[in-house]
Subunit: 371 residues, 2 copies
């Protein structure tokens, strides 16, 4: 276990990845791309074989009796993470052990209960804020963590060198390190991840019996709100169970607001009903406006313009080529088009100072810029 | 009032638009582009002046005492729509009168109560499924309705010719006509529009006091679920009030599911708790999968591939130019990148049969296709 580069710690390897699902395999692929020796282990031989086949690392069986990894990454479902961390601390007494489960406090408590201080000093809980709606090693990709936040939750007992190794894992995979206590982390993801998941599922659940003619009117609003309702129930049951106490406190607040809203809708002409509804919608405005933009920019930092495009091959490309010619950077792009017709709108986001220039330019090239 | 074209009714004009907000002004702009004479009226002289200035039509004051519109479009907030429809039916005894409020049953009931059969035969309720998070005439655009569904809710009393004129309005503006009864419409929008709005606002409301370090971890999940929480509270209070009875019935179901979930989270180790959670998430999966794709295609009709791009001017354009060169149509595109880093992912949707071909092609051109 050596520290490479004075400017910052990097991994030397070997790295043992336990669990070769989407995240473990992606970690293996990313580290292999940096030339680091990766050894893979999964309870399912076929899952492990797939991860090996796509180049995420070599089999644990070939590692030999003297195998001494610099770092062990436990990339297993939350339910079994604590046990696997404890096993790894015992089996590899020189290794730093990290896990990447989406909940941190419960795992730390379990590890703490059954470890001495020496073992605990080698453990660091982490959580890469990356994922996909798909799962399994086939969905893995080396760049999964590129530019995404990776939360490092050092415990009081974690040795500074262990924390540096854990952070090196994140940095070497292109992620952005965010430091938080396990409590801060779990409280944060309860709001920004677990709550949206639950409300998206509650909404999507209502669509089970919705007539097709109603669903045919669905616009981007419904699509956006329900997109994450497609996530894997088995994984989410473990996440919700492990963070149940924090999530339920937030859901009490949601229930209170929901009851308030139901009260106004049951008697919409009643005194104060409209004021209550307006209050609730305004509170939503305020909360929504607090979400930071991409690139860590302030909310609403980008100006948007909408351009009409024919939905034929090459149209969007031609538009973006011409935008590229101006040297103005495209910050975001959304396409909008709807059933049966072949004309759509491209919503282009740029820095506010560039909006006027781009509008003039595109109009001069014959594009219809419609706000 | 004449029927143009044997293949289908088109508007001849003049058309009077009452209410020159986002939708009324967009209707004016779209009809003017077809060369139809449009007359504008708004309770606010300055709002009306803006609509005139951007070319949505001429002022009602100039229309003269013999002004006899073919069609009157009431494009006012839901609260005053009924009254304005009744006024228009009385003032213009030869005109068809349509409204475009987002709720239909309440407006029809109000019109019915105060009209004779002759007047009622000239009224048709409609609802264009288009809008923006912005409001006012400045946000208007002639193409707002292009390719979007426009629901036509003929009443039993509506004359067939009145319905044809109402449908001509939608068709002439490039929309896709969907026929429903007012009850079917209100039931449909309660689920696909009002319910997502309310749940998005309830969620966003919880973010009012969320610490900044938690919000900095926000990903596309949270952004997508809360996007529509930015909508105008004044308008939504009117919409929710007018469809209160239907919406509240759906919210009873949501509350039941929420209580069930809260129960499992209060006692996550209790008997059946995990099964209940899994059930709720699975129901979300089922509902989400029923939402049709864009272009009216079946859900999940498109194959997605993710391509790594540097976030510098011209990169996305170059990618899309090369996709365009293949002749493969781009069905959707989403960009993903996150705080502090300048590398992102472009998620490209194409017809499933084209996925393999496109992946091979892009790889051969040096792009990193990462699943």
């Amino acid at each position: 276990m050596t520290v490479v580069n004075n400017g910052g710690t990097h991994l030397s390897g070997p790295v043992l990845v336990i669990g070769t699902g989407l995240l473990g395999t992606s970690i293996g692929l990313g580290l292999r791309r940096r030339g680091i020796d990766v050894v893979l282990s999964d309870i399912s031989p076929s899952t492990q074989a797939v991860a090996q086949d796509i180049g995420a690392g070599r089999a644990i069986a070939e590692a030999g009796p003297d195998f001494a990894p610099e770092l062990v990454v436990v990339a297993a479902p939350p339910d079994v993470t604590g046990t696997l961390v404890l096993d790894a601390l015992a089996t590899y007494p020189a290794a730093v052990v990290v896990d990447i489960a989406s909940v941190k406090d419960a795992v730390l408590a379990e590890v703490r209960k059954q470890s001495d201080d020496a073992a605990l000093s080698r453990y660091v809980g982490t959580h890469p804020m990356a994922g996909r709606e798909k799962s399994g090693p086939v969905a893995a990709r080396a760049e999964l963590f590129t530019s995404m936040p990776w939360v490092i939750c050092a415990a009081a007992e974690s040795a500074p060198q262990s924390v540096r190794i854990a952070e090196a894992l994140a940095i070497d995979l292109g992620a952005v390190v965010a430091r938080m206590s396990p409590e801060e982390h779990d409280q944060s993801v309860a709001v920004i991840s677990h709550l949206p998941q639950v409300l998206s599922s509650l909404l999507a659940s209502r669509l089970q019996d919705t007539p097709a003619h109603a669903l045919s009117l669905a616009g981007n609003g419904l699509r956006d709100v329900t997109r994450i309702a497609a996530s894997d129930p088995r994984l989410w049951v473990q996440i919700l169970s492990a963070n149940a106490g924090r999530l339920v406190e937030i859901l009490y607040g949601v229930r209170e607001d929901l009851n308030r809203l139901i009260g106004t809708l049951e008697n919409p002409l009643g005194e104060g009903a409209r004021l209550d509804m307006a209050q609730l919608m305004s509170e939503g405005n305020i909360g929504q406006a607090r979400i930071p933009g991409k690139h860590g920019t302030p909310p609403e930092a980008f100006a948007k313009l909408t351009v009409l495009v024919d939905d034929v091959p090459g149209q969007i490309a031609r538009l973006l080529t011409e935008i590229g010619d101006t040297g103005i950077n495209l910050e975001d792009l959304r396409l909008e088009h709807s059933p049966e017709r072949q004309v759509g709108m491209a919503e282009v986001s740029v820095l506010p100072g560039k909006r006027h220039e781009l509008t003039d330019f595109l109009t001069s090239r014959g594009w219809k810029v419609v706000q």
